[in-house]
Symmetry: C2
Subunit: 87 residues, 2 copies
């Protein structure tokens, strides 16, 4: 099965926590270059690795990974604010 390219927010989430790829890599138990590949979306993680990343960030997989290109978080926030504010 030709795998679709998946998108992710690993780089941004990692930046927000102020940790390096090396540190994240150690936590989730992979080589630090593997984190690089994932952030550059050069390949998709295994489901197990996706779970580890999801566990570390404390976020559901769907919020980190997506089959659709991901909008910047700031835009998501604005959209949500508009939705709520409009009540």
């Amino acid at each position: 099965m030709k795998s679709r390219k998946l998108y992710n927010r690993i780089a941004v989430l990692r930046k927000e926590r102020n940790i390096s790829r090396k540190e994240l890599a150690e936590i989730i138990g992979v080589n630090f270059q593997t984190v690089g590949y994932l952030e550059r979306e050069e390949y998709n993680p295994s489901l197990d690795l996706a779970f580890k990343i999801s566990e570390y960030f404390g976020l559901p997989i769907e919020l980190i990974f997506s089959t659709e290109p991901l909008k910047p978080l700031i835009e998501e926030i604005i959209e949500l604010k508009n939705k709520i504010g409009g009540q």
Copy 2:
């Protein structure tokens, strides 16, 4: 990275929809034997395949796949009923 064994509810969910492995396989675009391997938990799906399965069932990945052995759905229901009923 040695991948952890993951657990899933594909077989039960598929039974509930009354479709065969062959049919599910066609829908998600894999060989029907691959569905067999997944149901028997002989290997983990790729993240992309997990997304496809999640899309077909209309359920989040976390409800289908887990790093912990999964309880039968019926038990989950009982636990939820107890939680709510106890209010």
